[in-house]
Amino acid sequence: MTGVVGIVLVSHSAQVAASVTDLARGLAGAGDAVPVAAAGGTADGDLGTSSELVARAAHEVDRGAGVAVLVDIGSAVLTVKTLLAEGDELPDGTRLVDAPFVEGAVAAVVTAAAGADLDAVEAAAAEAYDYRKV
């Protein structure tokens, strides 16, 4: 696959998803080089997960090199897993990445900005679990 890996950030809260998107972009210094899309809250703007917003975000960031999806908790996890199991809802090469939401998002965007493939983006995001703070 060629092209840059897309990143989707799914949170129960629209504000959290949008803010983490800005944070990851800002810290990566990647500008618009990496396609990152937020899918936060329900379609009505409540706390929750919208399968439509997730699918739309994944298609929006798909450049043919795969899409890494990071999620917060509960229905965000289950919704993405369900969409993946359906088979035709998300672009080919979409993957749920097991990573802490904020740290993983930063690692994923930085790694994608360096031109890494989906495996490397996934590994970098997952590695964020090992980053100890004390």
Binding site: T42, A43, D44, D46, G48, T49, S50, S51, E52, G74, S75, L78, T79, K81, T82, L83, A85, E86
Partner: protein, 198 residues
Amino acid sequence: MLDADFFLRWMNALTEAVNREAGRLTELDAAIGDADHGTNLQRGFTAAKAALEKDAPDTPGAVLMLTGRQLISTVGGASGPLYGTLLRRAGKALGDEAEVSREQLAEALRAGIAAVAQLGGAKPGDKTMLDALEPAAAALDESFTAAREAAEEGAAATVPMLARKGRASYLGERSIGHQDPGATSSALLIGALEEAAR
């Protein structure tokens, strides 16, 4: 034999039960969850009812597939993908048969339950919907009434359990003494089956 009309009656009876019991489901969820189970299911089944009326699916499998699809896209909480997966996997197992037997339905439900267990990673005894659904699917081989009784007993049996999945699991010991909202709504799903058979 059970035809598409039976499955539409089942989904209608379930929608009515969810509307009737939404307050209780949300109250149970307020104790150990985030107080949205009743409203979330109401939103999902209301959307499903409209879609079923519009598309009028003509096989048992298609009724369940369409309902599951609506739940996944409209519920907004964890119950959407969980019930959506249950119904879609069961619907898929029924294929495009015009009529199915009660035993075939029981077998299809077991396939759906296995998919739910895989999706959520829960086991029986974790204080989840599985605690009502598993005994119900087993009893469905016997009769609709036996299935409803088994589901209700299974839901009641979640009261002394310690929650191991979902938001309730954060409460640890404090989750004990409350009936699980998911197991409770699962008992409604099976109870509606008995109503449709009347």
